[in-house]
Amino acid sequence: MPKDEIKQTFRLVGTRPDRPDGLDKVTGRARYGADFSAPGMLWASVVRSPHAHARIKKIDASKALALEGVKAVVTRADFPEVPAGEYWDLQENTIAGERALYDGHAVAAVAATSQLIAHDAARLIEVEYEILPHVTDVDEAFKMDAPVIREGAADYSVPEGSPPNVVKVLDFGRGDVEAGFASADLVKEGHYTTEATHQGYIEPHACVGQLGSDGKGEMWVCTQGHWYIRRMCAGVLGIEAANLRVTASEIGGGFGGKTTIFMEPLSLALSRKSGGRPVKLVMSRAEVLRATGPTASASMDVKIGMTKDGKLTAATAVFRMQGGAFTGSPVDAALNCAFACYELPAVHHLGYDILANRPKAAAYRAPGAPMAAFAVENLLDEMWGELGLDPLDARMMNAAKEGTKSSYGPTFKRIGFEETLEAAKAHKNLSVKLGPNQGRGVAAGFWFNYNGDTSVSLAVAEDGTAQVSVGTPDIGGSRASIALMVAETLGIEYEDVRVSVVETGALGVNEPTHGSRATFATGKAAVEAAESAIKDMCRRAAKKWGIDEDAVEWVDGAARPAGPNAGKFPPLSIVEIAAKMSSTGGPIAGHYEGNPPGVGESFGTHVVDVEVDPETGRTEILRYLVVQDAGRAIHPSYVEGQYQGGAVQGIGWALNEEYVYGADGRLQNPVFLDYRIPVASDLPMIDTVIVEVPNPGHPYGVRGVGETGITPPLPAVANAIAAATGIRMHSLPISPSKLLAAMNAKRKG
């Protein structure tokens, strides 16, 4: 679809008003997960395994229960048996059964009248363990003789005779890869590894749960999706979902890590056991790092063939990823994203999902895609460099475009990858001359974007303002962007629309704010809801005027006769119609329930300049450019914010962040001092260019912007380091010590 088929200019869409929750958030009034309290509330604390893998022989809570103020202790025995599958996995991860499966795995939990008493009581719970052999490294876990995490966990896709910790195998592709490699002038292979990183949201998980003996309960929780919390808690506890009302607090970051449950069922189980008193449970940072979703670690082999002009002829990828002690590493998405930026005549993907003694992986921003990009974009850069090609030109020559059959199957509709390459090429950063020990790196990235179950309701108030109830928690300004789209559609002011994230009892099921879906799916649903309210208002005007409702149109916030034949009536504004709602048919509302179709993929191109200190191996980011296709930037400031935040998370992954496990299988760095995320003094400003190739599947052209931005930084930084030092790093993070060792080895020859 040509660009101009979607309207290009708007009254409100594309402006930058203050966000509606801004005042609350700069005054400390906004209430996050740990900021809520309830009358009669107890505090909880969790006992966690200090072992990577151990049989739980005995749990003795008698001393804890004897402590004054202690009201209840729960263990796995307080949970119902559930059949194998998602809820069993979630229950097993919430609280260990026969065995503790990783360092930090919850074993018991206690509720008491104060936080201090709860912590003291947790220390009094005695757990007897029999330590078992463990494995935390992905390649070690892939061996035939590795310690077995769980028998019988492999699904149908795993061939007989596979290593025992392989639980899923993916094998797909198209075209004749052997012929493709045979026709290539240059074929190269590389082995790449990335360590697990954590989403690193600054707000630890927190909730207040209440559950009565009648099976009815409530929960206040920081989450990306409270319907998921409801469904998963109900599944784990064996209660009915509709009997649990879940309210999402303001959320202090999630990045995918708050799309599932961790300790929430513990607070409900403790509440039920202490007579229905509300129970507050707040994780410490160490608990967050030890026991909530990091991403997977990866071991990857990539092979690529190209002609001497740099045109790709074939590619293969073999990815091994461990996602902790449960099925669910993002190897699937990693493979699907691996070559998605390019036209490829032949491609083959093979992936292994592997169990290890680590916490259950959760989604992290474009799950799997950054690791895949690190491997693929690294090798491509090396090969195009060898052929003397410009990295942007070479990408342009191979870029996926409208009509390209993607590496993972579907044929792309209108996409904007080429436009991001053009905009990157034109950016001023590209003309900066580099000095000694400096290098420039380019990389591209991709994310599918997503729709998902969505339910939104909109109601017009008596004064013609509008309230919108949505079910996707606002993490980075989505209430502002939804209000902009609704106000644009209704023809009223931005300030006259109030968007609220409502509790699970108020709407149909909503999937979380994940997959870059909120502005696309909730936004589209809200626009549809507004359109149906408009239809109702036009109907009321038609009735008043005594004309056919098809003869009424909605323009600039008012119903008007559509054309001269419809009759001559002065427009009826939303304010006038709303004032008369009671006598013209009652409340005016609109709603949408569905899975809004029309998702549009998003591509990005990043360019980074680095300087490597030859004495220390430390890499400094000098300049950073993010170019990404947003489809349409509804509130450009928050789009830029997503680009900048994604890029910096990727920089952290590339240079600093990693899960470090000791020989004993314990996490060595469960504090921010040692798990070092980027700080302000590590970074320059992050330049952004928002490309807008509207998505024809959304009323305002939105694609979704959250995920793609974390994908290119890993290879972009590695490619820049290669340009600066002549050393191609195949494993992340590229810490100073690792890079210095490589530089020293090179100097020694």
Binding site: V26, A34, D35, P204, G254, G641, V671, V679, S681, L683
Partner: protein
């Protein structure tokens, strides 16, 4: 363990509470005084989300004991606006989209104000190093640093 009676000033008001000697100032502010604007991101002095000033000195309130507040003057994010009028930093944070999730925001604002009280004309590098003890996972710091620089410029007039 018996509790200790503490009398202190918070945002200009005299307050009293009973503190266990193990409780941090952050716990006391949040759980005894209901001032939940200061956040706990780490509890180990690494994230700055709990930033407050004690007698004008910027501290991580998770590293200060509640009983240490005896006789001192504590300022938190809740004391930053004056009778509903936002401090220029607060206004610039909203206008410049210097927050996404907003969880780090109270700590950044308190820390940035402490900087501008000392140094009304900081360079970008000075802002970045002063705020290096405040972690933000959402923004990449770009808009935060700009908001602080812009607020400083406005305050200099």
């Amino acid at each position: 363990m018996s509790k200790i009676h503490v009398t202190t000033t918070v945002n200009g008001d005299t307050v009293e509470f009973l503190a266990d000697p193990r409780e941090t100032l952050l716990d006391c502010l949040r759980d005894k005084l209901g001032l939940t604007g200061s956040k706990e991101g780490c509890g180990t002095g690494d994230c700055g989300a709990c930033s407050v000033t004690v007698d004008g000195v910027l501290v991580s309130s998770c590293l200060v004991l509640g009983v240490e507040a005896q006789g001192k003057s504590v300022t938190t994010i809740e004391g930053m606006d004056k009778d509903g009028e936002l401090h220029p930093l607060q206004r610039h944070f909203v206008e410049k989209a210097a927050l996404q999730c907003g969880f780090c925001t109270p700590g950044f604002l308190v820390a940035a104000k402490a900087l501008l009280d000392k140094n009304p004309d900081p360079t970008e590098t000075e802002v970045r190093y002063w705020l290096a003890g405040n972690l933000c996972r959402c923004t990449g710091y770009d808009k935060i640093v700009r908001a602080v620089m812009d607020a400083a410029a406005e305050m200099r007039g």
